[in-house]
């Protein structure tokens, strides 16, 4: 039995490491099995440099028909599980066919890689980046090792960032004017605003601001939309009268937001909405939803 097991064991181990692995920022990533591991963080246009080390097992030799490393950007839609769509695929051939007797190190470099999309782990979709090292073999299967990494892309402060201001109401019943100071917020931003009551004829019990994430995947008939409420933030307690102005100050940092993703590779979108909800004494809810754009701010030192 031992022999048999040994026979199916890969004859060598592959490990992928990054050149700046010690200094590069690591972020947590949730794996398929539910475990969270720390992986390095990159952004677009960065060079991904490292080495692949292949170490044959003691006393074994590994025949191969070539060694390569690929950098893949994949989108996986869960309704189509197992089918990865690669939107980025770069390959570096590391070795010509031959045999490996001893540990061999192959440095590799993907310079200034275009990684336009951020890693994303959603309800129905996942976007991920991996480095995949492959020892190709003829009869027996290839030996593959992959290493996840995360990509985040930063945006500078938008040049135009108008406030969201709107007057809404139910005729002769409730008229409010609300204002959020911006339409685009970065992930650690604060939403400042106010709600001004122009007319109140119903007994409002409280008012809250929700942050909702709307993830839509697929297209056409196969569009799946998933909405999550990430935050319920109470803004007001009690019944206001005409003329009252209620302040809003909502810090985004405690919530696990991502930037807004619009039509990523025609596969999916993630959008964020601010939902202002007023609840009356009969627990009826009056709400108004506004999209806000979330972005990842380029931290200027």
């Amino acid at each position: 039995m031992n022999f048999l097991i040994g026979a199916f064991k890969p004859p060598c181990t592959i490990s992928i490491s990054f050149a700046d692995g010690r200094t590069r920022k690591q972020v947590p990533l949730k794996k398929d099995n539910g475990q969270t591991v720390m992986v390095p963080l990159f952004e677009s246009q960065e060079s991904i440099i490292g080495e692949v080390v292949i170490e044959p097992l003691q006393g074994k030799k590994a025949e191969h028909i070539g060694v390569k490393i690929e950098l893949l950007g994949q989108i996986e839609l869960y309704f189509d599980r197992g089918n990865f769509y690669d939107f980025t695929s770069l390959v570096r051939e590391l070795d010509v066919p031959g045999e490996l007797y001893e540990t061999k190190t192959y440095p590799f470099e993907f310079s200034t890689v275009e990684m336009p999309y951020e890693s994303y782990n959603g309800v129905n979709v996942r976007l991920r980046y991996i480095l995949k090292a492959t020892i190709s073999r003829n009869i027996v299967g290839n030996i593959v090792e992959s290493q996840d990494f995360v990509v985040r892309n930063y945006t500078p402060l938008p040049a135009i960032n108008n406030s969201i201001k709107m007057e809404v109401g139910i005729e002769d019943c409730l008229h409010i004017e609300f204002e959020y100071n911006k339409s685009k917020y970065h992930l650690k931003d604060v939403i400042i605003g106010k709600i001004y009551f122009l007319l109140v004829r119903i007994k409002i019990k409280n008012m809250e601001l929700e942050i909702r994430r709307r993830e839509s995947t697929g297209s056409g008939h196969n569009t799946y939309v998933e909405t999550e409420t990430l935050a319920k933030f109470e803004l007001m307690d009690g019944t206001p009268v005409r003329g009252e102005s209620i302040p809003i100050r909502l810090f985004l940092s405690p919530y696990e937001l991502t930037p807004t993703y619009r039509n990523i590779n025609n596969k999916f979108s993630v959008k964020y909405y601010l939902n202002l909800v007023l609840v009356d004494e009969e627990d009826r809810r009056y709400f108004k939803q506004q999209e806000m754009t979330v972005y990842r701010l380029l931290e200027t030192p």
């Binding site: 409280n206 935050a231 319920k232 933030f233 109470e234 803004l235 007001m236 307690d237 009690g238 019944t239 206001p240 009268v241 009252e244 102005s245 209620i246 302040p247 100050r249 810090f251 940092s253 405690p254």
Partner: protein, 793 residues
């Protein structure tokens, strides 16, 4: 039903406290282990208990206080956290992550307090942020408590002048702005309570609101404690802002309470300097606000401020406090046409008190107030509202109490006009008050004009204002009233006889309108007061006015005659008789024989025509005899006439003993010690003999009707008369006659038929002892008595 609610409420409170304590426990544990995240989590959960809507303000307060204590610990913990390196700015953000607004804001205020103390940001900015964020609580009860928490925390952290949190220039403005804003918001919430919930619970709501009012008022207290608010700032910013809120909230309870609060918390000096602004708010208040009480409070305070030190008085003049108050009251009354009379009167009364305290020298002010009071009352007829009546009495009493001098009040021309509006009963009470005041202060009312005014004031006591009420008057009360009038009449006095005469004339004029019931009370004092004047004039050598002057004793006597005559209408013959006799005696002393004779004549006429009761006759007779005896003015003829009449009357008394006594008393009419021409020993003896005869007849009559001869008392009495005249040297009284009288008495006393009378025995025994004594005294008297022999028995 109600108990059910209360029980439920207790249950909810208990549950709230339990929840609070449990989370507080976890919070403490987190704090002990320096676990900020958990401390925040559990403190937020703990504070969530305050989100309840089920508790009444009273119970909610209990819950709040527990949370408050826990928050103090949390504040300490935050402070330590910052010392351990946690940035206060981060902490300030961190607590704002809480999803529920109420816990979030409590935490924010708590961190804010630490933030201010850290001085990492200007206090004014943090305070401004906190007070703004608190707008999120629109629930009245929860909002009030939250803001009161903020107020409590910030009290010692205001950027006041001299405070360690004082920042750049104008920082005091920020402190004021903060407090006023918090006050405004709290007041809005408080007012809103009134309009929430079903109408049938209005009463309960109002009760609950009044329990909460101090939370709102505390802000004003805080304002008053801010050092940096000087008069200018108070005048330009603070007061107008507060008043704006008070007026605009249009809520009766709030307006009443807050106006009162303003008056109570800010210094009087400020009130004085901002009087116009402050007063201008009053007419704008809701009609249902009890303005009179508040305004009265203000005036009272200002008055006592003025009383405190005379140095501030010029300020009052400078700001024309009186005229401002006066016109404000006018405006308030104008603005509230439905104000009950009591309101208007109370305001007038307070203003009057103010004026009396602050401007005691300005009687015209006081009169002005009374005048406007009259204006308010005019056309309303007699006041029937008992409260209003009470206020009018207070109004009218104020000048009396202040000046302690009715004379001053008499100068107030509107004073009697106000009294007109009192009902008869109260009018009398007021009149009594006035008289009592005069008594107490011994006020001299010394001119006829003043007396005229005074009697005009107290006319409720002088005459019947309303005939129909006549029967209902309580007899004792009536007597008391009239007695006080009598005392008042006695007190009128002027050194100048002419003026005094005028006074008497005025009083006479008034009391003669009083009707029969009063005359018997008012005539005697007037008579005696007049007689006092007579006595004064009599002492003077000459009539000071010359012969043709109005005031002469003659004129007074004429007047007296008229006055006493008035008694005939009652009729009160006994009294009239006495007064006539008094007058006669006074006339005697003035050597006015015809006048004295006239008085005697009047007295006799009354005796003859009106005194029919035998006992009254006896008394009257003795009075007549006593008076007549002292008269020296009469010529022989007049005197004869009068004495003759007197003896005649005496002999005609009904009962024999009375006859006897009157007759022997008459003997004195013929023997006046200091008048040599009046020593008619013969007629004295005649009288005494006649008395003896009557005494005899009396005994016989007694013997005939009762079988016993009765007492020897009369004989002993006559014996004493004999001895008297004997001693005075009446030649007609012989030792023999005395001797025989003594024997007669002794015999009678031993007689079986004589009724034993210990008093008579004793009297006789002491008479004998007197004789014995005189015998042994020595000198001329002893010689005289020497001839009288005393029996051994």
């Amino acid at each position: 039903m109600m108990t059910g609610v209360a029980e439920d409420e207790d249950k909810w409170l208990a549950a709230g406290i339990a929840g609070l304590q449990q989370n507080a426990f976890y919070m403490h544990r987190a704090m002990d282990s320096n676990n900020l995240r958990d401390a925040l989590k559990y403190s937020a959960q703990m504070l969530s208990e305050l989100r309840t809507s089920k508790l009444s303000p009273h119970k909610y307060y209990e819950l709040y206080m527990r949370a408050f204590d826990e928050l103090r610990k949390l504040e300490m913990f935050f402070k330590e956290e910052t010392r351990r390196g946690c940035s206060i700015v981060d902490l300030y953000e961190l607590v704002q992550h809480a999803g529920n607004i109420l816990p979030r804001l409590y935490l924010l205020c708590t961190v804010g307090s630490v933030y201010i103390k850290s001085k990492e940001a200007p206090a004014k900015d943090i305070l401004k942020d906190l007070v703004e964020m608190c707008r999120g609580i629109q629930h009245p009860l929860r909002g009030l408590f939250l803001r009161s928490y903020l107020s409590q925390l910030s009290r010692d952290k205001l950027p006041d002048i001299g405070s360690e949190y004082e920042g750049d220039a104008d920082t005091i403005t920020d402190a004021v702005e903060f407090v006023i804003q918090n006050f405004t918001e709290m007041n809005k919430l408080w007012v809103r309570m009134q309009h929430q919930g079903p109408a049938r619970e209005k009463e309960r709501r109002e009760k609950e609101r009044s329990e909460l009012r101090d939370l709102v008022g505390k802000n004003l207290h805080v304002l008053s404690q801010i050092e940096g608010i000087d008069l200018d700032m108070y005048k330009d910013t603070v007061l107008p802002r507060i008043l704006e809120q008070v007026v605009n909230c249009k809520d009766e309870i709030a307006q009443y309470y807050l106006m009162d609060c303003i008056i109570q918390v800010f210094p009087d000096e400020y009130h004085l300097q901002t009087l116009e602004v402050l007063l201008s708010a009053f007419p704008q208040l809701q009609a249902s606000v009890d303005i009179k009480t508040v305004l009265s409070q203000l005036m009272e305070r200002l008055a006592s401020y003025a009383a405190l030190s005379s140095e501030v008085l010029p300020e009052f003049l400078q700001v024309e406090a009186f005229s401002k108050l006066n016109s404000a009251i006018g405006k308030v009354i104008e603005a509230q046409p439905d104000m009950p009379v009591v309101g208007a009167v109370t305001l007038c009364s307070s203003l009057l008190k103010f004026s009396l305290h602050v401007h005691p020298d300005r009687l015209d002010y006081a009169d002005q107030v009374l005048g406007s009071c009259v204006k308010q009352l005019s056309g309303k007829g007699k006041i029937e509202d008992s409260k209003a009546t009470k206020q009018i009495v207070a109004l009218l009493s104020a000048p009396l109490e202040k000046y302690n001098n009715v004379v001053t009040a008499l100068k107030l021309s509107n004073y009697p006009c106000v009294m007109e509006y009192l009902d008869n009963e109260t009018n009398k009470v007021m009149a009594t008050v006035i008289i009592q005041n005069i008594m107490k202060n011994n006020t001299h009312i010394s001119t006829a004009d003043k007396v005229e005014a005074l009697f005009e004031l107290i006319k409720g006591l002088i005459k019947d204002l309303d005939e129909t009420l006549h029967d209902e008057v309580d007899e004792d009360d009536f007597k008391e009233e009239q007695c006080s009038v009598a005392r008042l009449i006695q007190m009128l006095h002027n050194e100048d006889p002419e003026e005094m005469f005028k006074i008497i004339c005025v009083v006479k004029k008034h009391i003669l309108t009083g009707g029969p019931k009063r005359l018997s009370f008012t005539v005697p004092p007037l008579v005696f007061n007049s007689l006092k004047l007579v006595r004064r004039l009599q002492g003077q050598e000459e009539n000071p006015f010359g012969d043709d002057e109005s005031t002469s004793t003659k004129k007074i006597f004429q007047l007296l005659n008229q006055i006493v005559e008035a008694l005939s209408s009652i009729p009160a013959p006994d009294l009239a008789l006495r007064l006539y006799l008094q007058c006669a005696e006074a006339a005697n002393d003035c050597d006015l024989e015809p006048v004295a004779y006239e008085f005697f004549t009047q007295a006799y006429i009354i005796y003859e025509e009106e005194i029919s009761d035998s006992r009254a006759q006896v008394t009257a007779m003795h009075l007549i005899i006593g008076t007549l005896q002292r008269m020296h003015v009469f010529g022989v003829e007049n005197r004869d006439t009068l004495t003759h009449k007197a003896t005649g009357y005496s002999a005609k008394l009904l009962k024999k003993p009375d006859q006897c006594r009157a007759v022997y008393a008459c003997s004195h009419l013929f023997w006046v010690d200091d008048q040599d021409n009046l020593k008619d020993g013969e007629r004295v003896l005649l009288c005494l003999k006649r008395a003896l005869r009557i005494a005899n007849a009396a005994q016989q009559m007694s013997n005939a009707t009762r079988g016993s001869t009765g007492s020897v008392m009369l004989f002993v009495e006559i014996l004493n008369k004999y001895i008297y005249f004997f001693e005075k040297g009446n030649p007609q009284i012989s030792v023999a006659s005395i001797q025989s009288l003594m024997e007669l008495i002794t015999t009678e006393m031993q007689s079986d038929t004589t009724t034993q009378d210990p008093a008579a025995d004793a009297f006789f025994a002491s008479t004998l002892r007197y004789i014995q004594f005189q015998k042994q005294k020595g000198g001329a008297i002893s010689e005289k008595y020497g001839t009288i022999k005393l029996s051994d028995s």
